[in-house]
């Protein structure tokens, strides 16, 4: 008979526990009782909820077979009878009980505290958002990790934001005074006001008062000054709790009652209550193992953190002090780095990094180990060789507790050759991604040649070929392959080079030798379908079309007997045209004012839009107008892969912009730009690159994003995969695009201006050139003859291809199968 496991609380730790138990098929009937009305969600990403991430996206999927009872908190544990009772009157028996009740925000005992909000749940965020609507200023009480998160949130809601911290500097738990000073300058540079070394005295509606008498106007007050473990159930049930709170557990996560475990922020393990997600996951893993009969132990956790708060890199690892230290401080550049080493200067003990956390992933695994270089070398990037030397037991990924040895084992055992493979196999790098550079070094040191060669004809990656062609001014494939490659090319390198040449403005894609490089879609400026016919997609910018043009499309489709279908990109696809029909059809379309939609190219496809503020009562901006402007600006732009975009006129996001390569969502203050989204095989929500942009800022950011992608991505790498593979990820991209850290901004801007200035409609140009039109025949020796193997039948009043294999079966195939 299956034993009953009851889990109290449904946060990240409880979710991890159930996920593991289901994975291991441990034979427990699992019931989870949650206090909140929704299943567990990612609290680390809480702030993104205010900038448009939906609650659904943050929510973890509930593992199959787990019974979830939400909105009905447990009020009592009956240890003798082994039952729990809920507020709603349910009584559930258990064989084992896991307490994962989490923590509650600490509310300072000051007068008027009831006027303040806390920052913990999605409901809290909804309340803060609602209150911010009519407010001008906000005050966050608490200048730690969570406090800065909350301050970022208020800022993103458009409030003039103050931070009040009782300690003498910000993030006192992670950084020292010097780091705090650098951090403060960053935060103040963003327009926030910081008050340190002074406690809060009182809260009144619209105002807070500090102990030194300072009064601050505050429409919204948020307490974010630490958390307290939720141990009240355990306490009432007579379980041991710590003096300062927390349910006492042993190394197997067992409380003073052997049938009851506690994990996550409510547990006091080895005398410590942990508030970071990684140790909480580690506790869930230990408890899961124990529930499966294992003997895993929780040996404390590495509290190293690396995060980006308010755009500032902050990292801390290992010890926060030591006998010797090496400190670097650059107040102008806003960088502070400090390493702690043993008194013989041989062993790394810990470090603090503010403003540039680059060395973090290379240094953290070396805590407690001999230094592989002088501290100065280590601080300034002399860490390239470290990955290879890393001992097998050194932890590489702290989020998922993966060691260098495990990664090496997976590389060798599974034959892994890239970072996505390691992520899938070991989970290393799958959470925060800060260890990705280390994973690459481990791959390289394991003898995996990080294959960059595009194909047998070139040893270069696409990005390298792009630079060669751009810098040397190469204009033809022949020139390129004779100087930098070998053989005659193939279906991999030829279209890739054709795309590079087109991105660099080499004229019409069917001009001269270029024509021979194009795959069949680009060669016929249409999309090949399974029976060898083609489909046609005229551009309908932003999905806006007049009745007259709709009628033209309908007439053309009717006259040529084409199958019509509305696409996902808000345009109309016409199927079933033979090659010799394409110019005739396009003549009609071009005469009616249509132009190529580039559905056949690795190029900008559509910029989809919702109807926006012109008609929609919720819209805050003219999304259709922007979508049309963007589609006309970037039409014809050739890229490593297709590019899709969308514009939504408000946060309801009806245009699904976050599923696009670049998506724009209107805000009261301008436009938010999201990048790297994708639907398709591996869906990915786009990341917020920049918020509240003016129109000119938005266009410049998109120009640079697209050109940077075009120059540096691999062949057929969508922006989503490209962004995932960028060293430094979104932060790095933001530096390049917004802060112009590489100094290439003007160059990228100029490249886009050249594209915009030289755009021509490929179909109009083709129709005007008899030489280009010559190719549009089924048979060069019988130009008027249609391919006799193409046949259609009717389905739902439209044509449908009769598959040629069926004809072949009747007529005899010219196939030899040995």
């Amino acid at each position: 008979m299956r034993r009953n496991l009851v889990v109290v609380g449904h946060g990240p730790a409880a979710h991890r526990l159930t996920e593991l138990l289901v994975e291991r098929g441990a034979g427990w009937a699992i019931t989870v009782l949650g206090e909140e009305p929704r299943p567990a969600y990612d609290r680390v990403a809480l702030t993104s909820y205010l900038t448009g991430t939906g609650a659904d996206e943050l929510t973890y999927p509930v593992p199959e077979g787990v019974e979830l009872l939400l909105g009905d908190p447990v009020t009592e544990i009956g240890r003798a009878a082994r039952t729990v009772t809920t507020r709603g009157g349910r009584t559930l028996p258990y064989d084992a009980l896991v307490l994962a009740t989490g923590s509650s925000p600490f509310v300072p005992p000051v007068p008027g505290a009831e006027h303040a909000f806390v920052y913990r749940t999605l409901d809290d965020l909804d309340a803060i958002r609602a209150a911010s609507a009519g407010a001008r200023t906000g005050v966050v009480v608490g200048g730690g990790l969570l406090g800065l998160e909350a301050a970022d949130a208020l800022r993103s809601l458009g409030l003039e934001t103050h931070i009040v911290e009782v300690a003498p500097w910000l993030m006192p738990r992670q950084v020292d005074e010097g780091g705090g000073a650098v951090l403060r300058r960053h935060v103040e540079g963003l327009g926030l006001t910081v008050h340190t070394g002074v406690p809060l005295a009182a809260v009144e509606p619209g105002r807070v008062t500090l102990a030194d008498g300072t009064a601050i106007d505050a429409g919204v007050v948020v307490f974010s000054a630490g958390v307290r473990p939720r141990d009240e159930l355990a306490r009432a049930a007579g379980l041991d709790v710590g003096e300062r709170g927390g349910i006492v557990v042993d190394a197997g996560m067992r409380t003073s009652d052997p049938a009851i475990y506690a994990i996550g922020e409510c547990a006091l393990a080895g005398g410590t209550v942990y508030g970071l997600v990684a140790p909480c996951f580690a506790m869930a893993e230990v408890a899961a193992d124990r529930l499966c009969g294992g003997t895993a132990e929780f040996a404390g956790a590495d509290l190293s953190t690396r995060l980006k708060l308010l755009g500032v890199d902050v990292a801390q690892f290992g010890a926060a002090s030591g006998p010797l230290d090496v400190t670097f401080m650059d107040p102008v550049g806003g960088v502070y780095k400090r390493l702690f080493v043993s008194d013989d200067a041989q062993t790394l003990l810990g470090g603090i990094l503010v403003g540039d956390a680059g060395p973090y992933s290379a240094l953290r695994p070396f805590v407690g180990r001999p230094l592989a270089g002088t501290p100065t070398e280590l601080l300034f990037g002399g860490t390239a060789a470290l990955g290879g030397d890393l001992p097998d037991d050194a932890q590489v990924c702290s989020c998922n507790n993966v060691t260098a040895g495990r990664v090496r084992e997976a590389i060798a055992g599974e034959g892994l050759t890239d970072v996505p493979g390691i992520k899938a196999c070991t989970r290393a790098g799958a959470t925060c991604g800060s260890c990705v550079p280390m994973l690459k070094r481990l791959l390289a040191s394991s003898g995996v040649a990080l294959g960059k060669a595009m194909c047998e004809h070139f040893d270069h990656s696409r990005a390298e070929l792009f630079d060669i062609i751009r810098v040397r001014g190469i204009r033809t494939f022949s020139e390129l392959i004779s100087a930098h490659g070998r053989g005659r090319g193939c279906d991999v390198c030829k279209p890739a080079v054709a795309s590079i040449l087109a991105s660099l403005g080499a004229g019409h894609i069917l001009d001269g030798e270029q024509a021979a490089l194009q795959d069949t879609n680009d060669h016929f400026l249409a999309n090949i379908q399974r029976n060898g016919t083609y489909s046609i997609v005229p551009r309908i910018p932003g999905g806006e079309i007049t009745p007259e043009k709709l009628i033209v499309i309908g007439e053309v489709a009717r006259d040529f007997g084409l199958y019509t279908k509305i696409t996902g990109g808000q345009r109309i696809d016409l199927f079933g045209a033979r090659v010799e029909q394409l110019p005739v059809i396009w003549k009609r379309l071009v005469d009616a004012g249509f132009e190529s939609g580039h559905a056949y190219g690795k190029a900008l496809r559509t910029v989809k839009s919702c109807v926006g503020s012109t008609w929609c009562r919720y819209g805050v901006q003219d999304s259709v107008g922007l979508a049309i402007a963007l589609e006309l600006r970037y039409r014809g732009l050739r890229a490593p892969h297709k590019l899709k975009s969308a514009v939504s006129g408000c946060a309801r996001e009806c245009a699904e912009a976050r599923g696009k390569d670049f998506g724009i969502i209107a805000t009261e203050g301008g436009w938010n730009l999201y990048v790297g989204g994708n639907g398709g095989f591996q869906p990915r929500h786009a990341d917020l690159l920049a918020a509240d942009l003016r129109m000119d800022e938005l266009i410049r950011a998109i120009d640079r994003f697209l050109m940077f992608y075009i120059r540096t991505a691999d062949r057929l790498q969508r922006t989503s995969a490209w962004l995932e593979s960028l060293d430094g990820g979104l932060g790095y991209l933001r530096e390049v695009i917004i802060d112009d850290s590489l100094g290439i901004g003007a160059d990228l801007d100029a490249a886009m201006e050249r594209h915009v200035g030289s755009y021509q409609d490929e179909w109009a140009a083709t129709l005007a050139d008899p030489d280009k039109l010559r190719r549009f025949v089924s048979f060069v020796n019988a130009p008027g003859t249609p391919d006799p193997t193409i046949a259609f039948e009717t389905e739902r009043d439209q044509i449908k291809p009769v598959l040629i294999t069926e004809i072949g079966a009747r007529g005899g195939l010219e196939v030899t199968r040995a």
Binding site: A515, N781, A782, E814, T816
Partner: protein, 124 residues
């Protein structure tokens, strides 16, 4: 009989001596690209390769069942001249018709030659 235009041969037109059928001007073929001709009931894919030669294979892509091979990208694999199917990219040897990605599959190969600026094909 050939029609009024010398480079056009109607399907089923009379063959020249020993089965060679003139199909088009050599100049009508784009270097390193294919074109399709109809010889009787047969669809033949012609390719003008980098060395100036003309090679001919069947137009039918046996993987997709569509008559499209002439529309693929011409290139090389090792020292073999190749075309990749435009449908699913399987690569065929233009000399032997063998599919280099699937040894069980082979497409027919036809003789082709250039005479006085005209391309001639011989279909058995």
């Amino acid at each position: 009989m050939t029609t009024g235009r010398p480079d056009v041969l109607e399907p089923g037109a009379v063959e020249t001596a020993r089965g060679w059928v003139p199909v088009c001007d050599y100049a009508a073929l784009t270097p390193e690209r294919g074109a399709c001709v109809l010889v009787g009931p047969h669809q033949v894919a012609l390719f003008r390769t980098f060395d100036g030669r003309v090679r001919a294979i069947g137009q039918l892509d046996p993987f997709s069942g569509a008559y499209v091979l002439s529309r693929g990208i011409v290139g090389s694999r090792g020292d073999r001249a190749t075309v990749a199917s435009p449908m699913h990219k399987q690569v065929f040897d233009l000399e032997t018709g063998a599919c280099l990605d699937d040894p069980r599959v082979r497409v027919p190969v036809y003789d082709a030659r250039v005479r006085d600026g005209r391309v001639e094909v011989r279909v058995p």
